[in-house]
Amino acid sequence: MKFTWFNLMPWPQLPDDFRQRHRSVWVDIPSSLFDPREAHFVYNRYMDQLEYAEQVGFDGIGVNEHHQNGYGIMPSPNLIAAGLARRTSRAAIAVIGNSIALYNPPIRVAEEFAMLDCISGGRLIAGFPVGTSMDTNYCYGQIPALTRDKYAEAHELIMRAWHEDEIFAFDGKYNQLRYVNCWPKPIQKPNPPIYIPGGGSVETWDFCLDHDYNYSYLSFTGYLRGKLLLDGYWDRVAARGKDESPYRAAFAQTICVGETDEEAEKLYAEHVSYFYNRCLHIYGGFADAPGYRTIKTIKHGAMSAMTEDMQKVFPSLTWKTLNDEGYIIAGSPATVREKMEHLIKGLRVGHVFCLLHVGNMPDDKTRHSTKLFAEKVLPHLRDMWPEWKGDDRWWCKPLENRLHPEENLAAARRDGGLSR
């Protein structure tokens, strides 16, 4: 099993009446709610936490891309990843990922990911999301019905740029480049491991299987609801005649660990509530631009998780419901371990993205939960797939003789970090 510590980087100061006063945390969230001076501390704190996760033994540290979003203040995950690459040396750096249809031209992604792979000594995991409708269509203006086509072309261009040694001309529908010449190239050959975050599009499953990419299911509704979707994915894997390595799939889960079940509720309930009440308050009209999802996917029943109906559900969720229905996994190390076993076996996943910072959780609680997970949960979950031991097809392959630049920054590695 591989565990990646993931930080969505939520803005921690959404007001108590955010839900009542504003229609959406995403796309048209008022910019007056963002305070750049405070953001100095927030960004540095979040980056310290990611570095701390490596220190306590997580296999990977993960970042992602959102735009105009109050729960993800990371329009450029590559900037964060570059910072992490200089202050860590063991953990995989999982950028899940760059919305490749949004880069003009997408050769930019091939270049920046190659830079990250070089700086980090071959530790990059490269994610290629289609991107949510909120980010891709409403914030970045891509035409919904053409988004997937543009994504497919961007993917082809990036992979050819990495794989081919000769300069080539690319005559695409969306990109025409006379001299494609990716300089630099990634250390990992033929390319870093590719993860495709999906929200339930059936086409995405086939795309992953066509190329043997990892399928990463990222949702905030937890492992019990995720099972239905991943069952569909594994059916597709079987139908395509592929091996059933659990490392083909990853799942993101919100996790809160306390010394006891009671402590977990006492410490974390308010921050989980902040996340589900304020951070997921998304205007229904932005959930799914018409044409963004294919008709096939809609007929398959994969409506967006951000529909108006879910908007009614999120604020009514109690700590008990969130736990009982698996939105979150919270409790003592023993409780969390048991539920994690259920998640891993039930979904058949070899990678978990651990969302251990939740909503407006302060630094000390985040580190407490992270440390407990690393010390008292993670070791017990290591070998849950003995029959697939050594299957590293979806993990990074760092240089043996890479640098350890963070060792000059000992102070930053102490508990508590440099920033508040």
């Binding site: 409403y138 035409i143 053409l146 018409p290 044409g291 809609i298 409506m303």
Partner: protein, 260 residues
């Protein structure tokens, strides 16, 4: 009205409603498509040979993947005219259909009779942005598109109860298909630089606008008339953006007065 399916040379299969005799008049529908009942077309058919093609992605018409940008849409319009064997038809376009008709008239200014644009899309005034139709919730459409919201609700849903999950999914699928297609020329801003080409528009032109249009406000008519000096304007009371459906008699009267 009769319906038949034609195939364009590009390969799109297009369902066309047809009725009447006389001078050919092609009606191009808006982003919502044709409704099950279209009384204004029947009234027009008392005087003209009316042909109302459904754009690929709408109703039973297919081949939407063959049309990707404004030029494709405008050429498709002429492909349909050719497949129907029409000579110099009058073009009547509503909303998105008005945008397409205007583009057709700029591409081939001598190939049409008269041009009628009902609340056409295609221009953008930064100080007066057009509402974002692509972020409307299902219940918002009637409110934005009709002067009489309650009647609009009935017309839009065709009697479906959107509180019913199956009905909602059916609406959602149809909406995704139609607006997905419309988005190719309307998303995120319904402006594909028609204003650069509009000097080519020579046809006698009538603009028709509902005075309570809350989607493309009537002040857009002024901008159209600046760009198309020969255009006349007919404003219709008690009508919103869906003027052909809300005031079919007044809409048809304005057209017949202008087209002759």
């Amino acid at each position: 009205m009769n319906a038949r399916t034609i195939e364009t040379r590009r390969g799109c299969k297009v369902r066309v409603l047809e009725a009447g005799s006389g001078a050919p008049l092609v009606f191009l529908h808006g982003a919502g498509g044709l409704f099950p009942a279209n009384p204004f077309l029947e009234k027009l058919a008392e005087r003209y040979r009316v042909l109302a093609p459904e754009l690929p992605g709408y109703g039973e018409s297919t081949g939407e993947e063959l049309l990707e940008d404004m030029l494709d849409f405008a050429l498709h319009g002429w492909d349909v005219v050719d497949a129907l064997g029409l000579e110099k038809p009058h073009l009547v376009g509503h909303s998105m259909g008005g945008m397409i008709a205007a583009e057709m008239a700029c591409l081939a200014p001598h190939d049409l009779g008269k041009l009628v644009l009902a609340a056409p899309a295609g221009l953008w005034i930064p100080e007066h942005p057009i509402a974002d139709l692509f972020s409307f919730l299902p219940h918002e459409f009637a409110q934005r598109l009709f002067h009489d919201r309650a009647r609009g609700e009935d017309l839009l849903t065709g009697g479906l109860d959107l509180r019913n999950m199956d009905a909602l999914i059916e609406f959602y699928i149809g909406n995704a298909r139609r607006l997905g297609m419309a988005g190719k020329i309307l998303f995120p801003i319904p402006n594909r630089r028609l204003s650069k080409r509009i000097y080519r528009l020579r046809a006698p032109t009538l603009l028709v606008w509902g005075v309570s249009d809350a989607l493309i406000p009537p002040l857009y008519a002024k901008r159209w008339r600046e760009l198309v000096p020969q255009a006349e304007l007919a404003e219709i009371g008690a009508a919103g953006h869906m003027v052909p459906y809300e005031q079919p008699d007044a809409f048809v009267a304005a057209i017949t007065r202008f087209v002759g």
